[in-house]
Amino acid sequence: MRRELNLAVLSAAIGLSLSAVPSVHAANSVTAVDLDWTGAVVTCRTIQYVLENEMDYKVKTVSMPGGAGAWEAVRAGDVDYYCETWPSYNPVKSEYLTEYGGDGSLSIVADTGIVGSSGYYVPRYMVEGDSERGIEATAPDLKSYTDLNKYKDLFKSLESGDRGTVIACPVVAWECEDQKRMDLLEVDFHAQIMGSETAHWAEMQAKYKRGEPFFAYAWAPHWIHAALDMVEIEMPVYDEAKWPATTWAQDVTFKFANPKFMEENPDVVKLLEKHRLTNSQQATMIYEIDVNKRDTDEVVEEWMAANESVWRTWLP
């Protein structure tokens, strides 16, 4: 018991000394969210940079996976704004926008400037060969989805049996419908869902490093295109009526925010409205962070310093 008393006394003393610590909360504080893909983090950090360095705001960032949970956080006011939403990948989006957007508990602010595209890729060495690495072209005629069945033996995997394998869209909840797409297009492939983005990119990267054939889903802008040299396979153009037997629509990504926050912080809203990044601007930063494995803040600060003319136009 004596020892516990010691501990109690110690903690009491710590508690007392706590009162001496000055409060560090700035008056203008906003909460942003770092989502789980680097593009969204970069978009968010560029906004944060301006808020902190030009507008005297203190930005608190929380990290969490994107998706419905994060939408809910904005609605509840735990997070003030959400930097980058890809409409194709939020099957709950319509529900949220009618439920929360409709009753005013979420508001769309503006586009981010990033236009996303999604599709299927094979490594370039499969089509053209790679003399440097000593890889021969195994599928020289592979251009469109109609050629896939011809080469399906190349893409066989343990779990696919006689069929080829497509490394499919990694998260079931994104509702990409890869298997249905393959079946509807009569491509004899098995859609292997990796379970997480991490697993998806890891699998692609490992196969690429070993020079093996693979056929995989990916989206752009993304660092994977900088790290791996790949060719996109032609798919039928997007048509809502035929979905999922087509490719995805172009994703005009956008920002949204908590309406109460928007009322109280018109300055921030103006910044969010004017803020735009292009695909290539975002991709440069993503490359530095994910391929060269550099620190996110360092990369963003460097880019902001070099591109002052760009972000000056965002200022309210």
Binding site: M1, S63, G67, T198, Q205, D290, K293
Partner: protein, 710 residues
Amino acid sequence: MSLAIQQERSPGWMSFIWQAHRGWFMTFAMFAVSLIVWKIHGTETAFPQSWVEAFPFAEKFKEFDRWARPIIQPTTRAIGAGVTWFYEIVVDFLIFTQWQIIFLILVLPAFAYGGLRLGLLAVCALSTWLVLDLWDESMETLGLMTISIVISIIIGVLLGICASQNDRFETILKPILDTMQTMPAFIYLIPAFFLFGLGAPGAILATVIYALPPIVRLTSLGIRQVPAGIDEAATSFGATRLQSLIKVKIPLAMPSIKLGVNQTVMMALGLVVLATFIAAPGLGDTVLSGMQRLNVGKALEGGLAIVLMAIVLDRVFYSIGHVDQTSNNKHDHRFRLFPQALENFKPILYIEYGIDWVWRQIANAGRFVAHSVSKPVCFLVAQFDAAFAVKLRELLLRRSFLIASLVLIAVLMLLHTYFDIFNNFPREWKHRFRTPVNQYMDELVTNKVFYAITTAIKEALYYGLINPLNMFLKGLPWWYTTAIFAGVAWLIGGRALAIGTLFGFLFIGAIDLWSFSMITLSTVTVSVFICFLIGVPLGVLAAYNRTADAIIKPILDTMQTMPVFVYLVPVIMLFGAGQIPAVIATVVYALPPLVRCTALGISELPEQINEVSSSFGATMTQTLMKVKVPMAVPALTLGINQGIMMALAMEVVTPLIGGKGLGQEVFTGMSLAHIGRTLQAGIGIVVLAIILDRISYAWSRSQREALGTN
């Protein structure tokens, strides 16, 4: 013993074999029948769709959630705000105070309670956080953990005391605790965040739910185990029930309560990374973001920091519970750096002398400080109450180390406030090892020989175990599988268990999780089977060979405390994604208890067994295979039970690397923020876990009874 008696009674050799190997025959018969059923039935069968439609659990729960949330939310959000306020005070203090001072505050208790070795371990851990540039993250995690642990202990001890006093309360509490322990934490993360708030409050409350069961159980157990005679003696001296409880029973139950605290600490630390899914700050984020960006090195740095925190917190809480209170001479014993055996070696002895001298000087200085503090304080107190002043003086002098530490910290803080004596941690001292780790990973991935080995393992696992079992379990009709499990439950655990099993399986079918559950079942079976194949020999080795034990033990410790997220990426890179890497990751996670239980089971056997057995002319191998392993079967079955539970807990993590089954449903529900869907998959896991736990536990008990040991 009972086995031997049965053998004596049975005359013919046929029935002798039957008696001795009844279990095997029945297993074999069951398997044969199943195979026939599977052959006849063939195709994959769904649970009757009409039953599923009649029971729309997920949607109903979602409706309930919509209705209930606005009603509960104001209260829970207020609690959340309170927790956040407290968390921010603690973490601001830890982060914004100069690191040297925090370093002292954290290291001194380790020295005081655990002696030199623990103190040095703590210094090592804190230095690692500093060097890896993870100080702020570590402080955030430490803050989260401390608050969660304190809340868990307060609530847990109170609940445990109530449960020990009231049988009905305990019966109600027990299934709730079971559910809390088997329900994957993922499932209540999202509700915790909806109700209590994003980040710290949600994370703290989810951690409390997760870490609460052991302390409740062990508190109640400890108090109930106090012999009735002592309680009677206390009452006969005129103590009321409350007095007897507080003054007699709870102090006597302290060892058990402390064990509960220990378990709670370890459980809480297990949730660090998961809590990041609802934006908990700290080291978990380092691990998760490292994992998400395939930065294995970064994830490993975060993982190492968490492992060190877990080990130090565990040891500190352990030594707080294990200080020998009667020994006055404790410092001589506790401030020893090397094992006693090494003291024959002169230089070691001199080092020990040196340390001892330093310690004595510190103790003298401490006593001096305590004297100087106690004099004026006691003088002031004596003006009001002389008797109390004497007591106080004694109290202060006895805690000279603590008083001296506090004075030292206070002086340093004051000095720093006015004279700025401390610098920030120098940049040149910071070193990260992520780059070499990542490079090494790259080399390993492209290494042809290594890849050939991993591919071979993968194919053997797939064609040899996973695929056949998948086909088998999915192909068996639902009513047959249910009947088999209920039958086994009946044979092993009796009627109640059989009825429970029956309803559990019907429930899983009715909430449309049948085929997911069968995949889960096959993954768990395969994983535990492989764990058994690897774990038992390792356990035997550890029991026989001290060197092997010394090597295996720290590896097991690390395996148990290292967040699984750290090794998910290497597993995918080496084995590809899918059900096989899921099995491999599960094996890594579920192996330690099997090794431990086997080693314990064998080394616990009395020494005489060796002698008796060898006097009958048995070789060492014979003794091991024919005598020791059979006698260690109860411990082994307990290990299997633990392994099954760990494998099921892993079910919610493996979907990240392509694992299918119930865990994937949990993830899908989570990504859609569909509470009903997540919860229903979670309930599926709980039901499976409880059924498997009860069956394997009953099996373990029947094995113990068969051996006549308890």
